[in-house]
């Protein structure tokens, strides 16, 4: 075989290798099967995910919308509320979930029974949960203030009449609703830690806090970070809790970007402005997503 012929054969072989690599290493009939099984999913994804997202982005593309948004005196307030809601809600929730997951590692029967009660708020649908919380806070017939009157003879505060107590109520309701889910995640993470690591730590004389600091925490740190980032993304888009607990009130002082978007879209009747309101969160959400994707492709754990 001449050199040219050898080169041609080599080129074809390389092309074939590149083609197989592009096709995920599939050959011939395997490729056809893959297409056959992927096509319906791709069609559904394009129709029900890609198209609505692109349409939404198109709705909110005009710079004039952002000018109107920034002119609204409530917008800056809403951004501050969102930062507080996400910052405090996510961090307090993740920290508590992390701690409580340690408690639920215990084997006693009453701990397991308590666990079932603990996850109930998460298991219930979000809307009745948030509504229940709203009713608990009512100054006239709500449980909290009536308990205060019954036990101590004092009239409780009107929780939803002040911006800060209303915002605090939204944060507490959100933590109460979603903490069980993250507790379960951390519990699963703890259960995946090999016992022989703890036995080795025992041999080295590490107990209590030192076991936590040198075994548990390093092994769960990555999980904690990823969960925190995921939770941040979810919380930025949370609408149900704020809408049904405080309603964004009093006087729209506890609106977050998600509720502002819904209000602009369906109360003011301008869906394009609602999309624009939510899109102003993208400069925060996109970097988090990128960082999350990079983090998911790492890393070793150093004990």
């Amino acid at each position: 075989m001449s050199g040219v012929q050898q080169a041609l054969v080599a080129g074809q072989t390389n092309a074939g290798v590149r083609w197989r690599a592009w096709g995920g290493g599939l050959r011939g009939s395997e490729y056809s099967w893959a297409i056959a099984f992927t096509l319906p999913y791709a069609a559904v994804f394009l129709a029900f995910v890609a198209y609505p997202v692109v349409f939404g982005l198109w709705l909110g593309h005009s710079p004039e919308l952002y000018s109107q948004l920034f002119d609204d005196p409530l917008y800056l307030n809403t951004v501050v509320n969102t930062i507080l809601y996400v910052g405090i809600g996510v961090n307090v929730r993740m920290f508590l979930a992390f701690l409580i997951s340690g408690f639920f590692m215990r084997r006693e029967w009453w701990v397991r029974a308590l666990f079932l009660a603990f996850i109930l708020p998460w298991a219930m649908p979000a809307l009745p949960t948030a509504l229940s919380f709203h009713w608990l806070l009512n100054g006239q017939w709500g449980l909290f203030d009536n308990l205060l009157w019954f036990l101590f003879g004092v009239d409780g505060p009107i929780w939803l009449n002040s911006r800060w107590t209303a915002l605090g109520s939204n944060i507490v309701a959100y933590i109460w609703k979603f903490m069980p889910f993250w507790t379960v995640i951390f519990l699963a993470g703890r259960m995946a830690i090999p016992q022989d690591l703890y036995e080795a730590a025992d041999v080295d004389g590490a107990t209590g806090y030192r076991r936590f600091a040198h075994v548990t925490f390093p092994l769960l740190a990555n999980l904690y970070l990823i969960c925190t980032l995921l939770s941040t993304i979810f919380t930025v888009g949370d609408f149900t809790t704020v809408y049904f607990v405080s309603g964004g009130g009093p006087a729209m002082s506890t609106d977050v970007l998600a509720t502002l978007g819904i209000r602009e879209a369906f109360t003011v009747g301008r869906p394009e402005l609602g999309v624009a309101a939510v899109m102003t969160a993208l400069p925060i959400v996109i970097p988090i997503v990128i960082f999350l994707m990079r983090k998911l492709s790492t890393t070793e754990v150093q004990l």
Binding site: L39, P73, Q140, I158, S246, V268
Partner: protein, 457 residues
């Protein structure tokens, strides 16, 4: 066992994909079928009345109505989404289309229904006509975009038995705006001394969460203080009118003072649409001012409670002169892009017939007043004094002075109301320590910014 070949799976997969994305073909069904979205009534009788009307129409016309009855908020969201996406039903029937209709008529997204309304124009009330016409900026003309069927007014709702328990008489209720509210204030202390620990005198809807009650109360208080000219039928805002400014300041002063003096439940600032109704039914307060007689009809099956309530019409203004009650119009509108405009218009022509309109609204327990005055005069049921709630309400909505809601004049007012800036001015005094003058100035500035976006040329 069936052997699946690669070819058969691939064929099936492609077939499944195409079938899933394709639209179903119904031969000739579009020619005579109209999709209709109807908002759910407050009482089941309203829905039953619509279903009967639909069945009668389908029998008479041979057309088919593919209708969905849905709660108001859900219908609002669906309709807005449909108009944004272009995938619209043939007819939307709404009790209060104030958020959607003015704006979308402005943007040329609603079908002109003048050909449906004009044959009945001489029968309709002036306010029904005004509340059904909107300005189309593309065509530069005002036209009928709503086929009006019903009108809604706002009466006072009072627990008559509690008034008596406090040692007062309903017959002594004053007939001027502020004095009427003030009449109930001393009863709060008396009733609390009698064991009703959490009762308040006034259910003033100073809410800022929306959608309508807070705006409704604010505007009527302004009207009672001489501020009815804040928006005129040419769509202009008159915040520079000293009379309007004075009325707004007096409104904010009265509402905020009543709140600060403790005559209003503190929660009222955060009430949503249902909370004031719930509060009234819980006997949290003695009196409120709320649209239609839904408050009473919610207790229709509980005759004891129904009879304890008292419905009062509009009092005079604070200057002692009669003032109009603001009245909206509910009915059907047809989005552009509807596939069967012919059937949709045919249905509305059928529904607007006085006999059909009257029977339909009567079957709904008279929660809504007819858009045609003669119906009320011809059928003694509407003004039958054996039901004081209905007769008072109908008299207020149809026979006494009324004025149309401002959303018919300009979509800008719809946005003003949607942003809840009216009652925000009250909240600014109560929560943020502003003076009434400063709060009104802030509110007027925002209103002017909104109005500046809607220019009639």
């Amino acid at each position: 066992m069936v052997r699946m070949s690669r070819r058969s799976v691939l064929t099936s997969s492609v077939g499944l994909t195409v079938a899933g994305l394709a639209r179903p073909h119904i031969a000739n069904a579009q020619a005579k079928t109209a999709s209709v979205w109807v908002n759910q009534g407050f009482v089941p009788q309203e829905d039953a009345a619509f279903k009967k009307l639909a069945a009668d129409y389908m029998k008479e016309s041979g057309n088919t109505l593919d209708y969905s009855i849905m709660p108001f908020q859900a219908q609002n969201q669906k309709t807005i989404a449909a108009l944004a996406s272009g995938d619209v039903p043939d007819l939307v029937f709404m009790d209060a289309p104030g958020t959607i209709l003015p704006q979308n008529a402005w943007n040329n997204k609603i079908v002109d229904v003048s050909d449906v309304v004009q044959p009945y124009e001489h029968l309709l009330t002036d306010t029904a006509k005004l509340a059904s016409t909107f300005y189309d900026k593309t065509l530069r003309k005002r036209s009928y975009f709503l086929c009006p069927i019903k009108q809604g007014a706002t009466p006072f709702h009072v627990w008559g038995d509690l008034v008596e328990k406090a040692g007062f008489k309903i017959s002594d209720v004053p007939n001027t705006w502020n004095a009427r509210w003030d009449f109930f204030k001393p009863m709060q202390k008396i009733l609390r001394a009698k064991g009703m620990r959490k009762i308040y005198a006034l259910g003033l809807e100073v809410e800022t969460v929306g959608p309508n009650d807070g705006n409704n109360l604010y505007i009527h208080t302004m009207i009672a203080n001489g501020g009815v000219g804040i928006v005129t039928s040419d769509g202009k805002l008159h915040t520079d009118d000293p009379k309007v400014r004075e009325a707004a300041i007096k409104t904010v002063e009265y509402l905020s003072t009543a709140f600060k003096e403790g005559f209003v439940p503190p929660e009222a600032l955060s009430w949503n649409d249902a909370d004031d109704n719930n509060g009234f039914h819980e006997r949290l307060f003695l009196v409120d001012f709320d649209g239609t007689i839904s408050t009473e009809l919610a207790m229709y099956s509980n005759k004891d409670a129904y009879n304890k309530m008292v419905t009062l019409g509009m009092p005079h203004g604070n200057d002692g002169k009669p003032v109009p009650c603001q009245v909206n119009a509910g009915g059907g509108f047809i989005p552009k892009g509807a596939k069967n405009v012919t059937v949709a218009k045919d249905l509305m022509k059928y529904w607007m017939q006085p006999k059909v309109m009257g029977e339909n609204l009567k079957a709904g327990l008279g929660r809504w007043a007819p858009a045609i005055t003669q119906i009320v005069k011809d059928d003694p049921w509407w003004l039958d004094k054996s039901d004081e709630h209905r007769s008072t309400y109908i008299r207020e909505a149809v026979l006494e002075p009324t004025t149309a809601v401002f959303t018919g004049y300009t979509p800008a007012w719809g946005q003003v109301e949607a942003e809840q800036i009216l009652q925000q001015s009250t909240a600014d005094v109560v929560k943020n320590g502003m003076t009434a003058t400063a709060a009104v100035d802030k509110m007027f500035k925002r209103a002017n910014d909104i109005f500046a976006r809607f220019t009639f040329e």
